[in-house]
């Protein structure tokens, strides 16, 4: 894989100004350490992933939508008014009793922003990126997601061109739960594939 595949652009003028502002304000002690990360974390955990959760919940309750979603993720996600930059080439992979899917970006941190919000810090860590390819079962177990030997594990490498979203299995006993409540059960980690519901 070439480097440019993961580095789609150099910073725009506005990005440079935003970065300059951050540096200067930080140097003046006006940005408490970790503050921006803390604000972002709220969005990463709670607000951002809600878009992906809505996609998952719709697929659980609407079999035809699920078929469209698995056939063409980008178009089916756009049906819900979602998508856009960095979510443009979405491929949705379905967890089944036979297959567990997990997403990684081996070279950097390509991530489907519009449906999952901000990437968690560990997603960018070199050990996650390397080990999820080399020993996915071991790493998944360490992250609290044990996968039975009878279930195949598929690892999907995100790139600037293709972003993956895992469609987790619907939890048992939720047959009568309405769609909007189902969406609240869907976690960010389940859509990356490092957790099950």
């Amino acid at each position: 894989m070439s480097d440019d595949h993961h580095q789609p652009h150099s910073p725009s003028p506005v990005e440079r100004r935003a970065a300059a502002l951050e540096e200067l304000l930080t140097e003046r002690g006006l940005v408490p350490e970790g503050f921006i990360e803390e604000v972002n974390r709220a969005y990463e955990k709670d607000i951002g992933p809600m878009n992906g959760a809505k996609v998952v919940a719709r697929a659980w309750v609407d079999a035809k939508y699920k078929m469209r979603l698995l056939a063409d993720g980008t178009t089916a996600i756009a049906e819900l008014g979602l998508g856009g930059a960095q979510g443009e080439h979405m491929v949705v992979v379905e967890n089944t009793p036979e297959v567990h899917n997990v997403v990684v970006c081996t070279l950097c941190s390509c991530y489907p922003w519009p449906v999952l919000g901000l990437p968690p810090a560990w997603y960018k860590d070199p050990p996650y990126r390397a080990r999820m390819v080399r020993e996915p079962r071991v790493l998944l177990a360490e992250m609290g997601c044990e996968i039975d030997e009878s279930v195949a594990v598929r690892v999907w490498d995100s790139s600037a061109e293709i972003r993956y979203l895992v469609l987790p299995g619907r939890p048992a006993g939720t047959e009568d739960v309405p769609e909007d409540e189902l969406a609240r059960l869907v976690t960010r980690d389940s859509m990356i594939g490092v957790a099950r519901l």
């Binding site: 003028p13 300059a20 951050e22 408490p32 990360e37 809600m50 878009n51 922003w113």
Partner: protein, 92 residues
């Protein structure tokens, strides 16, 4: 930080959720939250006024670009960072 839910300074949303298209947008969002919290005791009115002005000045400019311009205006006008200093750093 609370955000406007209607009116000209409303951030872009998709299905009701705040929409960022790139990591820098989330950072400058958090940066403005820090400035409001630390330098204005959590009172966002000064920032909000500049954001409305920035959007009105260039209505077709992307929202987070206007957000960045408003934050620039706020920190320069309140003397936290000089305009020269900012221009020099951004040119590096």
């Amino acid at each position: 930080m609370k955000l406007d839910t209607d009116g000209p300074a409303t951030p872009p949303r998709r299905n009701g959720e705040l929409a960022f298209d790139a990591p820098w947008q989330a950072r400058v969002f958090g940066l403005a939250a820090a400035v409001v919290e630390v330098c204005f005791n959590g009172d966002r009115e000064q920032f909000r006024r500049r954001l409305i002005t920035a959007i009105a000045a260039q209505p077709d400019r992307p929202y987070w670009d206007s957000w960045t311009a408003a934050l620039e205006d706020l920190v320069v006008e309140s003397g936290l960072v000089s305009a020269n200093c900012l221009n020099e750093r951004a040119a590096e």
